[in-house]
């Protein structure tokens, strides 16, 4: 119990530090500083389970919400969030046409919407197809400063009837980078 409280406190005060000593991440994050901004890639490294497959095939709209924070590390006090974005991946299986309708929104705005017959493409859209997203365009970054990108994921519908691929409420991942101009 004490260990969990300590880990939660550590995470609250300095998530990057907690990451260094924490367990393997199932949410992999790759920041790429380029042309004055940072592009963010991430993937939830989980296989499609029978429970999740059943949830998707029930016809309900399944939504994975990724909260992405760009943060600046602090050696002495709490880390600072510079900017945040919300990436939402949605899949709805049409039981009549047997097509998966999937889409992605960035801060509530639809970035793309597509359909597929293939389950793996739909699952990939929910968990893996987040490559080089331009989420923090226009956010001023200090040259040679250390930052990190934190991604937290949760899924809906959220009830005991569905078992999501990760333990607890959120999956989480971090990655540090130095912004070189």
């Amino acid at each position: 119990m004490l260990k969990r409280v300590f880990f939660a406190l550590l995470l609250l005060l300095n998530p990057a530090l907690a990451l260094a000593s924490g367990p393997d991440q199932n949410l992999q994050v790759i920041p790429l500083p380029r042309d004055g901004e940072v592009l963010v890639s991430f993937k939830l490294d989980e296989a499609l389970t029978d429970e999740v497959r059943a949830a998707i095939h029930s016809g309900l709209t399944i939504k994975f919400v990724y909260k992405v924070d760009l943060r600046r590390s602090s050696a002495v006090w709490m880390d600072r969030t510079i900017a945040s974005a919300v990436v939402t991946a949605t899949v709805r299986y049409d039981t009549l046409t047997r097509l998966y309708h999937y889409s992605r929104t960035l801060d509530g705005r639809i970035e793309f919407a597509d359909t597929t017959e293939k389950e793996d493409v739909a699952w990939s859209a929910l968990t893996r197809e987040f490559q080089r997203l331009s989420l923090f365009r226009g956010t001023p970054l200090e040259a040679n400063a250390e930052y990190y990108v934190r991604v937290r994921a949760n899924a809906s519908p959220h009830s005991n009837a569905f078992v999501w691929p990760w333990q607890g409420d959120d999956a989480m991942g971090f990655a540090k980078f130095t912004f070189v101009k």
């Binding site: 380029r34 042309d35 705005r109 639809i110 970035e111 793309f112 919407a113 597509d114 331009s134 365009r137």
Partner: protein, 207 residues
Amino acid sequence: MRVAIVGGPGIGKSTLVRQLGDLYHNGSYGEGEKGVWDPRVLEDIERGRNPIGVTAYFARLYDANYRDAAAHDANGKVIFFEGARITLEAHLAEYAAEYHAELRRVLAIGDAWNPDRVIVLTSSTDTIDKHIRQRARPFENAENMVRRFRLIDGEFRRLAPLYPNTVVIDRDNKEFHEREGLLQIIRLARLPQFKEIPYEQMDRFGG
């Protein structure tokens, strides 16, 4: 593989078709503009005249492109087109309901095209306004074009789920004159990878 790029006026279809065609080296077919089109077509579009004739003109223009491409399509090729059947249907909204039955007969010209992928480009109205003013085509009235865009863009979004192999992509923050912007479109539309022309540092060139 035939990939159609469609969307409302001023969205950047021509640029994307040209850029992707140049990237894949398998050919591309734009829909043209002033100088290519019969001059009377432009005038009729601006004034909302002759809806059946205008729609049939573009249907025949697209048909010529799809027929020509069929002659040299092959495994591994990716050929790009501006326009598809969904384009003709989306533009129906510009015309009074009394023309719709006849216009739907024109749509039948596009029944055989069946592109393997249709990319519907969409965007915010601000971006469209900027593009239309930047390209400053003398025959285009910016306010009228933005009004038309809103109407036609709404139709594309409504129709997209009804057409097979169709992906809707928001082009905001995707610059088609930058490699990253093209890669984003390729990724989101799940197009096959293009073959990069190798560029090397060389002091001499020989076998």
